[in-house]
């Protein structure tokens, strides 16, 4: 048996073990599992000869031996230190297992359903079976197939038409440093009714020594006029492996704003897809990734302008230090009859080390003739003139470089409405800078001045 087959078999063996310990399931779930497993078995893990995976080597995942966590225990105190200090509705998962103790669902407003997937299935599995898998099927990627084979837990968010949720909704994923690495396959389903509004923060964080694999699939459906802001704040431990496939379906006049903020994780691949299916639908993709050491961060985005008068705007920034490797692939497809659309895309990268690497590729496929589209990609180093100017004020070179790096990230962070998130990212970027000179203190000063 070849290594590749071995890898696939190892994962499928885990599935068989799990099936043996699991009770009976609705037939549709069993059927999907089977389809997922079959698809995954047929495709195997993606290799670099596939264009979509050209720059990302997933052998660290394929060769891993990951168990499935059986409990969601996590000390309240350590969890509190990791949790975002935001007044929010919160679902917490520990290595993929739902933790009621670390969740907060007591004051959900009328019209909002927020519950773990397992519970949603118990309450009404057919209501889940309809939408689940509609956007992200087993064909999307070997990882979506794998997720479908393993899916058990995750989050379901349903917003009744017209519901406006004031507080953000946090989906917190904690990764533990256990005796052996584990994997989880969270499944998130968001159904936002007409003119509903909410902010969802998907937060990945964990214990420093953790080395787990997370394989997430998220499907977001926005009905007419729905407005959703979605944060993916990736602060997972540096040994964690992370793959996420996020797909958004947008009806007429809906607005989706994504902040994909990637600071953590050893190997991270995020696919973000928006289907603009109705006139007036707009989508904003904001991204910031900061890689150091040997971190590998791959962002693949796709916007499908399936209807006329749709709008997309994408701005991704990458900062790469040491031997970190970044990948940005931004694709925009404009269908033949999608006239009067606007699509803008920009990717700027900053390389702080000679050995850091970025592979950036914008792709536009335009089949309509009356459109406004632009794209650009730049990669560079810090501005030496600016470094000199700062040094002439007595600021040492390391700090000068730090300030300019923070400034580079700032452009994306200025778009962030949640101060707790933007401050956290700014502090993280400042804190990660080599030999920092209390940049954190500077950020705090600016915040204090702003509050006066």
């Amino acid at each position: 048996m070849s290594d590749v087959q071995n890898d696939v078999t190892r994962f499928l063996d885990r599935l068989a073990e799990r099936a043996a310990s699991r009770g009976p399931e609705p037939t549709w779930i069993a059927a999907r599992r089977q389809a997922g497993a079959a698809r995954f078995e047929a495709m195997g893990f993606p290799h670099r000869r596939v264009e979509q995976w050209k720059y990302t080597d997933v052998r660290a995942i394929a060769r891993g031996d990951f168990a499935l966590a059986t409990d969601g225990e996590f000390s309240q105190a350590s969890a509190a230190a990791l949790t975002l200090p935001i007044e929010a509705h919160r679902l917490t998962f520990v290595d993929g297992v739902f933790s009621a103790a670390l969740s907060r669902l007591d004051d959900l407003p009328a019209g909002v359903q927020l519950l773990p997937l397992s519970q949603a299935l118990v309450e009404n599995h057919e209501a889940v079976g309809g939408p689940l898998g509609r956007l992200t099927g087993v064909e999307f990627s070997p990882f979506s197939a794998l997720n479908t084979a393993f899916m058990e837990e995750g989050a379901v968010l349903r917003l009744a038409p017209g519901t406006v949720v004031e507080k953000p909704i946090i989906l917190q994923f904690l990764s533990r440093a256990g005796e052996a690495p584990v994997m989880s396959h969270p499944r998130i389903l968001v159904e936002a009714g007409g003119r509903s509004q909410a902010t969802v923060i998907e937060h990945h964080v964990g214990e420093e020594a953790a080395t787990n694999f997370t394989n997430l699939v998220e499907e977001i459906m926005l009905d007419r006029g729905a407005i959703l802001t979605h944060y993916k704040l990736q602060e997972a431990p540096l040994g964690d492996l992370h793959v996420a496939s996020i797909q958004v379906e947008q009806a007429r006049d809906s607005r989706f704003t994504s902040f994909n903020l990637n600071l953590g994780g050893g190997l991270v691949r995020t696919d973000l897809v928006a289907d603009l299916n109705g006139q007036g639908a707009e989508t904003h993709f904001n991204g910031l990734f900061y890689g150091q050491g040997r971190q590998h961060v791959d962002n693949h985005t796709l916007v499908n302008h399936n209807a006329p008068y749709t709008f997309s705007d994408e701005n991704y920034k990458g900062i790469l230090d040491d031997r970190a490797h970044g990948v940005f692939n931004g694709k925009v497809i404009v269908k033949r009859d999608s006239q009067k659309i606007e699509a803008y895309q920009n990717n700027a990268n900053l390389l702080l080390s000679d050995r850091a690497e970025i592979d950036t590729k914008p792709e536009l496929e335009i089949y309509a003739d009356d459109v406004k589209c632009s794209h650009g990609a730049t990669t560079g180093q810090l501005d030496e003139e600016a470094i000199y100017a700062l040094r002439t004020r007595g600021i040492d070179e390391q700090t000068a470089r730090g300030l300019l790096t923070l400034a580079f990230a700032g452009e994306v962070m200025e778009q962030v409405d949640l101060e707790a998130v933007s401050e956290r990212v700014e502090l993280a970027v400042a804190g990660k800078l080599p030999e920092r000179f209390n940049l954190a203190g500077l950020v705090e000063t600016a915040v204090a001045l702003g509050e006066q």
């Binding site: 501005d383 003139e385 600016a386 000199y388 100017a389 700062l390 040094r391 002439t392 004020r393 007595g394 600021i395 040492d396 070179e397 700090t399 300030l403 300019l404 923070l406 400034a407 580079f408 700032g410 452009e411 000179f437 209390n438 940049l439 203190g441 500077l442 000063t445 600016a446 204090a448 001045l449 702003g450 006066q452």
Partner: protein, 250 residues
């Protein structure tokens, strides 16, 4: 305080300064004037430590220290500060970051701790008001989108906050309208102190109506060809540089 002796500097192989000597003592305001291309900006750039200037002979000492052996930031920390003719825009770096980082770097060099936040706030608000600037400007990125006048005010603001031992101002008057000129000149005058030297580099005499120098030097072709008091500046304004060029050539 500052002593420049027989300084020879080449830029990309051609000699710009050809044996320049200058002494600035504490409490004095010196103005260096001269036609374009005489080497005025080269002098301040070399003192500040900009790359690309090769000192082939001569020396620069500041309070007994060999300036040419000091890192760029060490010079500033020691109190040798340059105000730029063309201040650089630094997108994303807030003015307040720059001011606080610079002030703390200077304090650290003196072995002092970081400035307490309330003290810092009080200090910068006072200086910002003196320069007739709005506090909102502290949250803006350094010089980004600033008018020429705002950039120059910002240079002086940095001087007021950092209180250098020797302030060098390179063409600080260029691109200023008369109101901005007054504010900038007030800022410079407020820097005058017994223990501080000020070195103004300027092409025109205009600024010197507002900031009256103790000594005026004329720099022509890499050397100081004439020194005098404020009266020399007025003579240059009236007669131009031509007569001096001829005198020098003769």
């Amino acid at each position: 305080m500052l002593e420049v002796k027989d300084l020879h500097v080449t830029v990309e192989g051609s000699e710009i300064l050809k044996g320049l000597s200058l002494t600035v003592n504490a409490g004095e305001v010196h103005a260096i004037m001269g036609p374009n291309g005489a080497g005025k900006s080269t002098l301040s750039a070399v003192i500040a430590g900009k790359d690309g200037y090769e000192v082939t002979a001569g020396s620069i000492t500041f309070e007994g220290r060999d300036v040419l052996e000091m890192e760029i930031e060490e010079r500033a920390q020691a109190g040798l500060l340059l105000g730029f003719q063309y201040p650089v825009e630094i997108p994303g770096v807030k003015n307040i970051y720059l001011l606080k980082a610079a002030l703390n770097a200077q304090r650290a060099a003196r072995g002092e701790g970081e400035i307490p936040a309330p003290e810092f706030m009080k200090l910068i608000k006072e200086k910002v008001a003196f320069m007739k600037m709005d506090t909102s400007f502290l949250q803006r990125a350094v010089n980004e989108g600033f008018s020429g006048g705002e950039k120059k005010r910002n240079e002086i603001l940095q001087m007021l906050v950092l209180q250098p031992r020797l302030a060098m101002l390179d063409e600080i008057d260029s691109g200023l309208d008369i109101d901005a000129m007054r504010v900038v000149a007030d800022g410079v005058n407020s820097l005058r102190a017994e223990d501080r030297g000020i070195l103004l580099v300027t092409h025109y005499q205009r600024l010197l109506d507002f900031v009256v120098p103790d000594k005026v030097h004329v720099l022509v072709d890499g050397r100081i060809v004439k020194s005098g008091d404020a009266g020399l500046a007025r003579e240059l304004e009236a007669r131009g540089y031509e007569w001096l060029l001829e005198e020098t050539a003769a």
